[in-house]
């Protein structure tokens, strides 16, 4: 296996982010369940954590957040901060999750997505957005469930974008 340069991986991840944003705009943001929509960029962040571990996962999560921030009118960097943290948390669970039954990564994606929504609400409030008026718990629950529905399709794509060699995680990491 020829080792790939970081530039190739970065390009592939950038493409993935633009594609995910496109689907979020074109499809996900138009389908609401109980007034709540799924959050694909958050799911990409979680999936990156699960696929690449806390270190690189957090970087991809940050990139996903920044990309989303560009199209939102919320404080710039708020999604980046939240998604990087959530990807880090998901990445820390990576080892125990990926070797378990198929549904465990999906359940983790749901829980991490819900956590992301809550964190966004809390951070947003700290930086002066009035987000606590919103039904945070309902948004977290429904967005988590919607993301869980998409997770089985998205997890392999993100895993491929980060480590196309097909490895669950790069075993060469242990140096």
């Amino acid at each position: 296996m020829i080792p790939e340069g970081p530039l190739v991986t970065a390009t592939r991840i950038s493409l993935l982010l633009v594609l995910a944003l496109t689907v979020q705009i074109a499809v996900a943001s138009r389908i609401e369940v109980f007034g709540v929509q799924g959050d694909l960029m958050l799911l990409v962040a979680v999936a990156a954590g699960l696929a690449a571990g806390p270190d690189r996962g957090a970087i991809v999560g940050f990139a996903a957040g920044i990309t989303f921030d560009l199209l939102l009118q919320s404080p710039f960097g708020l999604s980046a901060l939240t998604y990087a943290l959530v990807a880090y948390v998901a990445g820390s669970l990576q080892d125990s999750v990926l070797r378990a039954a198929w549904w465990i990564p999906v359940a983790t994606a749901a829980a991490a997505s819900a956590l992301g929504v809550i964190l966004y609400g809390v951070f947003g409030t700290v930086v002066g957005e009035d987000l606590l008026d919103l039904p945070l718990l309902r948004i977290a629950l429904v967005a988590g469930l919607l993301n869980a529905l998409v997770a089985p399709a998205l997890l392999p794509i993100v895993r491929w974008a980060i480590t196309p060699s097909g490895g669950m995680r790069p075993r060469t990491m242990a140096r």
Binding site: T22, A58, F62, G77, L81, A84, V127, D130, D133
Partner: protein, 277 residues
């Protein structure tokens, strides 16, 4: 096992990312031109996509809404028919009253909202995330739009422009918790400030009224149009649903249902106000 080194490195990465986020947040709060330029660039880049997506996925999302809300749609249809009949009756009266009002205001040299030119735009995208209360429309500075212009529809105030590129613009909805507009109660003229509380939710209006003042349910609120206000006066905003005590029990808060249904917008009008100097 090198796991402790890995943990150390990933913690450092996370710390750096958090610091970067905080730096960006700070930049944004200082109204950095770089960030607003980047946002306008991204918005322009995705603007053709929004139009295409609206056309392509419209039938599917309509079908989805049809399936999940069929009963609601039927009820709504019946309610709308009844409403139209009622409105036809009052429209004629209103037209007469409006022309009289316009004449009187003209004599007093007061600007009337009906005289402000508007431009109609199509809504091409709704809120992109659960925490965003903005929509995208398909016209921008090429149609004379500027940041801050009021956005209305046939029913009343919808929001204001917060970002404008050449061919699209972003509208902050009145339901945004960060949205505030000076209003006055019809007919008493009591002033207040209306704030959003989230998508589909009612507005809350802080008034200076005594907590035992009585305000009729169904009373209308319009923009106050006070000096240096961000909006011209007389734009209908909403109707009082109920009252509650606010300001530590000293004043009265009004719970107000917006007249414009910001959840189901297809077309909006941008008021070209203030008219270019």
């Amino acid at each position: 096992m090198a796991s402790s080194r890995r943990t150390g490195r990933s913690r450092l990465t996370l710390a750096l990312l958090i610091l970067t986020s905080l730096a960006l947040l700070t930049l944004d709060f200082r109204d950095s031109t770089i960030i607003s330029a980047a946002r306008r660039g991204a918005s322009s880049a995705f603007s053709p996509l929004r139009g295409v997506a609206e056309t392509a996925t419209g039938p599917f999302t309509n079908a989805w809404h049809g399936i999940t809300g069929y009963g609601d749609l039927q009820d709504e249809n019946d309610a709308l028919r009844a409403e139209i009949d009622r409105l036809r009756g009052t429209a004629a009266q209103d037209e007469d009253a409006a022309s009289q009002l316009a004449g009187l205001l003209n004599q007093l040299d007061i600007e009337w909202v009906g005289d402000i030119p508007t431009a109609t735009a199509r809504v091409v995208a709704g809120p992109l995330s659960n925490f965003s209360h903005t929509i995208e429309i398909d016209k921008g500075s090429n149609s004379g739009f500027k940041v801050g212009m009021p956005v209305i529809n046939g029913a009343g105030l919808v929001g204001r422009l917060v970002q404008v590129t050449a061919d699209d613009a972003t509208v902050q909805l009145i339901t945004d918790p960060d949205f505030a507009v000076g209003v006055r109660l019809v007919p008493s003229g009591a002033p207040g400030t209306a704030r959003g509380t989230g998508a589909g939710a009612n507005l809350i209006v802080d008034t200076g009224l005594e907590s035992d003042a009585s305000v009729a349910r169904g009373a209308t609120l319009t923009t106050s149009g006070a000096d240096r206000s961000a909006f011209p006066g007389f734009i209908p905003v909403g109707k009082v649903v109920r009252t509650r005590s606010g300001g530590g029990g000293l004043t009265l808060d009004l719970v107000v249902r917006p007249l414009a249904d910001t959840e189901k917008l297809a077309f909006v009008s941008v008021m070209l106000w203030p008219v270019a100097p």
